[in-house]
Symmetry: C2
Subunit: 204 residues, 2 copies
DNA sequence: TAAATTATTAAACGTATGTTTAAAACAAAT
DNA sequence: ATTTGTTTTAAACATACGTTTAATAATTTA
């Protein structure tokens, strides 16, 4: 009950602190203290602060990407895929309130993180291809309007879905709402976003 | 040519470093070195690193808010205001590529910054009121569709405009484009965003 | 010019950091 | 029971940080 427990306690404490305060503002001593463990044990089990962070960061990225994964199908219409994406993304973001800000913070700060972990985004790339295919197909079918660059549509979807969550403190302040109402507004907004995107594509 | 010069050199260097690396990753020694000035001069002129940062932060927020200010008019239609907003925001963000990420980083990290500087956002609040008024008026006129919460429309505008700029490294990587094409895409996107918002509001 | 004020400097202070060391405690194996 | 290997510990190391000090240089004032 002891061996693995201390290692795991370190992992959990580090994860919580990194998410809450970021890499720089979290000291190894903070981690050890929260895990109720001797300082040297952190380096004993995880070699260095950076190694520990990388481990946790990759884990978090995977977790949130898994939450955003959904069965996108080339058979679905573009509009169906959009609605599905908006719903899935919004719910994943509601479920992981702190993770998004954390990932964004770290990626913007050290964009090298992207290079070394681009493999993790492979699934995302496939997803984008299927999405664009469904758009192009429906354009040829004449179901939706002609789009010069379909990637922009995807960018719009992600912008609409993700932005309110990474600017949550700002949004709450300006709209003068608390966490509970924030979630409700985001849920209500799902339909508005989908409608807006679909109306734009199908009106021409 | 010396007195003000050194103080200003510190200010400029600090500004550049804070924007590039954030508060935590910028040391007073870095600032002094870049300004080619003795270490102690930084504290001599600006008391503390935090005071210096606050000064620069407020300045940057003002700068970007000024760039985003435009003559919003209660006489304009809601759709005109939207088009105007999208154009102005996008151009302001193109003009200040690093500022947006910087402000976001710091605000998300220390959301207390919002409380002490809420006065700076006063203009933003007035702007929002005028905007919402124009929406409500056009709804009553029957020109645009009924909206439950007009604030959501504003959130959508800001999401669409701002998100690509704060996630610029990610967007460039996924779309496989460089800075120059990024700017071109953002310019082209202005019309798409305006069209999408206007089409949604006027189709019902 | 002399005194007073301001600007600049090298050095140090105190604290915090990530990491390492070397010894002790513990568990497992022979 | 002794050896072997692993886990845990207190302490130290080396470096970086923001800030202060006390002395010197430069400038302004009287």
């Amino acid at each position: 009950m002891d061996k693995r427990d201390k290692k795991e306690a370190i992992l959990n404490s580090a994860r919580a602190l990194f998410i809450e305060n970021g890499y720089q503002s979290t000291s190894v001593r903070d981690i050890a203290k929260k895990a109720d463990v001797n300082l040297a044990l952190v380096n004993y089990y995880f070699s260095s602060k950076e190694d520990l962070f990388d481990l946790i960061f990759d884990n978090i990225v995977l977790q949130i990407l898994n939450g955003m994964k959904f069965e996108i199908s080339a058979e679905n219409s573009a509009c169906e895929n959009i609605e599905h994406a908006v719903n899935t993304y919004t719910e994943a973001l509601i479920k992981n309130p702190e993770l998004t800000s954390f990932i964004f913070q770290e990626i913007i700060k050290h964009s090298e993180l992207l290079n070394s972990r681009i493999a993790t985004l492979q699934h995302t790339n496939n997803f984008i291809k299927v999405f664009i295919n469904s758009l192009n197909r429906d354009i040829e079918k004449g179901i939706i309007r002609k789009i010069d660059n379909p990637e922009i549509i995807i960018l719009n979807i992600v912008s609409l879905c993700v932005f309110p969550f990474i600017s949550k403190p700002l949004v709450k302040k300006v709209m003068n709402i608390d966490d509970k109402i924030f979630v409700k507004e985001m849920r209500d907004r799902k339909k508005i976003i989908s409608d807006m995107l679909k109306t734009y594509l199908t009106t021409f």
